[in-house]
Amino acid sequence: MVIWYEYRKALQSPIIWILLVLFLCFNYWTIQSRIDAAPELQAVNALVRTYGQVADEQALTALRKDLADKDELLSIHEYYLQAGEQLEEKFASVNWEDVAETNVSMMMLSGEAAAEMKKAYEKVEERASQMQQNKEQLHWYMDGAPARMHSFLFSEVYGLLFTETMLLVVLMTSFVTNYERDNRSLLTVMATKRGKKLMRDKLVASLLLSASAMLFLSAVTLGYYFITYDYSALMNSSVVSAFNWEWIFPLVSWSPITLGQYLIYSLLAELGLMLLICGFTYALTLVIRNVYIVFVVMGMLSLIGYLLPALMSTSSVWLFYSIYTPISMLYSMGSFMLAGGARIYPHYEMTVLLIWGSLLTITLVAARQWVKRQQF
C-alpha cells in the first residue's frame, strides 16, 4: 500500500505526463522519417511467406520461375533475386583476417590491443563458418545497404527511446526518494516505526516506476514502429542474414538469433539497464539529498561512460574493457549480442549487467549503512 502511495507521487506531477507526450511526439516524428522503406519491407514479407525462411537454391529457383512467368515488372523481387543469388558467395568471400586488419587500422590500434583484436577474429571466423553451415546468413531479410533499417531501429530509435526513458527514470527516482526531505515531512515520517522502513518502499516504488515508464514508452513507440514498418513474417529470420549487410562487413552474432529473439532480449537488457540506473540514482539521492545535484551528477557520470572509450589508449586492451559500462551498452544496441567494433568478447551484455548489478548491490548496502549513521 505504501509502495502504491510512493508510486503515485511521481505520476501526480504533470511534468511526467508532459514529457511523455513530448517524447512520444518526437519518436513518432523520428519513426516517420524512414517511411520510404515501408513498401520494400512488404515485398520482403511476401517473399518469406511464399518461398520460406531461407533464400536457398530451391527458393531462388522457385522465385526465378515465378518472375519469368509474370509479365509485369516486379523490380523489388527481381532485385532480391539477384542479391539472393550472390549472397552465399558474397558472405563466403569475406576474409575475416582482413576484417580484423581493417578494424585495427580504423580504430588506430597498436600493440596488445591490435593482437587481441586479431585473436578475437579467429573466434569470429569459426562462428562465421558455423553460420554458413546453419545457413543463417541466407535468411530473407530487408536489404541493409541503402535503407539501413537495422541501425535505424536499434541505434537511432532505441537510442532516442532509452535516452528519454533514462531521463524519466532519473527524474522520477530522485523525486520520489527525496520527496519527504523536499516537503519537510521527513522528521515526522522518521519518528514512526513504519516510517523508518519508508526508504525501502521507495526503492521498490522507484523500480516499479522505472519499469512502467520503460514499458509504456517502448510499447507505444515500438508498437507504432512495427505498425508502420511491417516485420511480421521476418520475426523468425536470422538477424545476421547477409541481406542485413549495412556497412563494410556483414553482421556476425555469437549465437544464432532471430529478429524476434533480438527484440525481446534487447528489451529485457534495456529493462535491466533502466533498473540499474534507477538503483544508482536512488543510492545517490540517499547520499546527496538534493534532486538537482543528483541530476547533474548522473548526467556527468553518463558523459564519462560515453566518453571513456575515447579516452583510452589505443594500444592497451583496456580499450575493450572500457565499453563495459551501462551507458556504452545502452547506446550500442545496434550490435546487441553481435561481434563488431570494440565488442570482441562474447556475453558482453550479461557481463555488463552482472558487473554493474553487483556494484549496485554494494553501493546500495553502503548507502544504507551511511544513511543509518546520519542525523536527520
Binding site: S13, I15, I16, L19, S174, D182, Y292, G299, L311
Partner: protein, 385 residues
C-alpha cells in the same frame, strides 16, 4: 549591492563550483578533440599551407595580377611534379610525366589495364606512402584556382530560397572587394563546428547555474520570512541580478577558455580575410572572418544570458526540481538540435533567410522578457503558501 554579492555566494557556493568545474572538464574533452582535428588529414593541411602562402604573398584580397602570379606558382609546382614523375621509368616510357595525364589515367575501357594498375600503385606510393607535399598541394591549388575562376566568370552561388534581399545581396557580392573565392573553406567550417559546441556548453552552464536561483529558497522555506518584509518583496530582482552576473561570469570564463583552446589552431592569421573570398563562404554581409568570429561569440553570450533568464523564470514559476528540470530538458534539446543550427552555426549564412536568425533571437528575447515581466509584476502581490 551587498545583497547581490550574498545571493551570488549562495548561488555559486564552493560545492557547485566544484560540480561545474568537473562538468566543464568532461565537456571540454570533446571540444579539445574538435580543436585537435583541425586541419583534418591531407588535403586540408595542404590547403591551410597554401592559404598561408596566399596571405603572406598577396594579402587578404587577391587581385587579377596576383592571381596570375598564383597561377604561375601552380605551374612551378607542376614542373616539380613532372621532375619527380620522371624518376619513374614506367611513366617516362608511357609519356605520362605531366600532372594532368598522370592523375586522370585509368577508368576508361580502352586503356591499358596493366599500365593503369602500375599508375595506381605509383599514386598510392606518392600520396599515401611517401606523402610528398607538392603533389597534395598541386591537387588543392587546382581546386582553389578553379574556384577563383568560377567566381570571376560570374558563377556565384544562388541558394534555394528566393527573396528580394537575395537579389540585392547577389548584386552586392558581385561588387564587393574580395568577391572571388580563393581561400580554402576548412578553417571557416571548422570554426562553425567549434562555436556550435561552445554554444551548447554555454547554454548547459547557464541552465545549471540558474536552476536553483529561486528554487533553493522555496525548498528551504525561507520565502515566508522574505516576503513578509518590504525589501524581501524586491528580492526577486536582486536575485535575478546576481544570477545574471553569475551566468556572465561563467560564460566569460568559458569564452576565455575556448578562445585559449582555439588559439592552438593558429587560425588567428586568417582573421582579416573577407568571408566572401573563402570557398562556399556565403554570408549576408561583407565581413571578415575576424568579425564573424566576434559576431558568433556575441551570439553565444546572448544565448547563454537568455537561457539563463528563462531558467530563472521557470525556477520561480514551478514547485519542485523535478518539474523544473523536466521543463528545461525539452527546451535544451530543442535549442541544441535545432535552434543552435540557425542561431549559431549558420548565423548569417546566405543559405537561410536573412531574417531567420535575427527573428529567432528576437522571439527568444521577447518571449523571455514577457515571461519575466509577468512574473515580476506578480511578485508584489504574490501570496506565499
Amino acid at each position: 549591492m551587498s545583497l547581490i554579492w550574498i545571493e551570488g555566494k549562495k548561488l555559486l557556493n564552493w560545492r557547485r563550483l566544484i560540480l561545474l568545474a568537473l562538468l566543464n572538464l568532461i565537456l571540454l574533452f570533446p571540444l579539445y578533440e574538435i580543436m585537435d582535428l583541425f586541419p583534418n588529414g591531407r588535403p586540408e593541411t595542404d590547403g591551410i599551407r597554401l592559404a598561408q602562402e596566399i596571405k603572406s604573398k598577396y594579402g587578404t584580397i587577391v587581385d587579377e595580377e596576383e592571381f596570375e602570379d598564383f597561377k604561375k606558382s601552380y605551374e612551378e609546382r607542376l614542373a616539380a611534379v613532372s621532375t619527380h614523375l620522371s624518376t619513374y621509368e614506367v611513366l617516362v616510357e608511357a609519356g605520362f610525366t605531366d600532372y594532368q595525364s598522370f592523375m586522370s589515367y585509368g577508368g576508361n575501357k580502352d586503356e591499358d589495364i596493366d599500365l593503369a594498375n602500375a599508375i595506381d600503385e605509383i599514386r598510392e606510393q606518392i600520396f599515401f606512402k611517401e606523402r610528398i607535399n607538392v603533389f597534395w598541394e598541386a591537387q588543392e591549388q587546382e581546386r582553389l584556382i578553379s574556384a577563383y575562376e568560377r567566381t570571376r566568370n560570374g558563377y556565384i552561388y544562388r541558394p534555394n530560397h528566393s527573396s528580394a534581399d537575395l537579389a540585392v545581396r547577389i548584386q552586392e557580392q558581385l561588387q564587393a572587394e574580395g568577391k572571388y573565392e580563393i581561400y580554402p573553406e576548412s578553417f571557416f567550417n571548422h570554426f562553425q563546428q567549434y562555436i556550435t559546441y561552445v554554444a551548447m556548453m554555454a547554454i548547459i552552464n547557464a541552465i545549471i547555474v540558474m536552476l536553483p536561483l529561486y528554487m533553493q529558497d522555496k525548498q528551504n522555506r525561507v520565502e515566508g520570512i522574505q516576503y513578509a518584509s518590504r525589501r524581501g518583496r524586491r528580492l526577486f530582482g536582486t536575485k535575478l541580478a546576481s544570477g545574471v552576473l553569475s551566468v556572465v561570469f561563467l560564460t566569460l570564463l568559458l569564452v576565455i577558455g575556448s578562445l585559449l583552446l582555439y588559439s592552438f589552431t593558429g587560425n588567428r592569421q586568417f582573421f582579416d580575410i573577407p568571408i566572401s573570398s573563402i570557398i562556399t563562404g556565403f554570408t549576408w554581409y561583407n565581413i571578415t572572418f575576424g568579425q564573424y568570429f566576434v559576431l558568433s561569440y556575441s551570439g553565444v553570450i546572448v544565448l547563454a544570458l537568455l537561457f539563463g533568464i528563462l531558467t530563472a523564470c521557470l525556477s520561480r514559476l514551478v514547485g519542485n526540481y523535478m518539474t523544473l528540470i523536466g521543463l528545461c530538458i525539452p527546451i535544451f534539446f530543442l535549442q541544441n538540435s535545432y535552434g543552435n543550427r540557425f542561431m549559431v552555426e549558420s548565423i548569417i549564412d546566405m543559405r537561410q533567410h536573412i531574417w531567420l536568425s535575427p527573428i529567432m533571437y528576437l522571439s527568444l528575447l521577447i518571449g523571455t522578457l514577457l515571461l519575466l515581466v509577468f512574473i515580476w509584476r506578480r511578485e508584489g502581490k504574490r501570496n506565499i503558501t
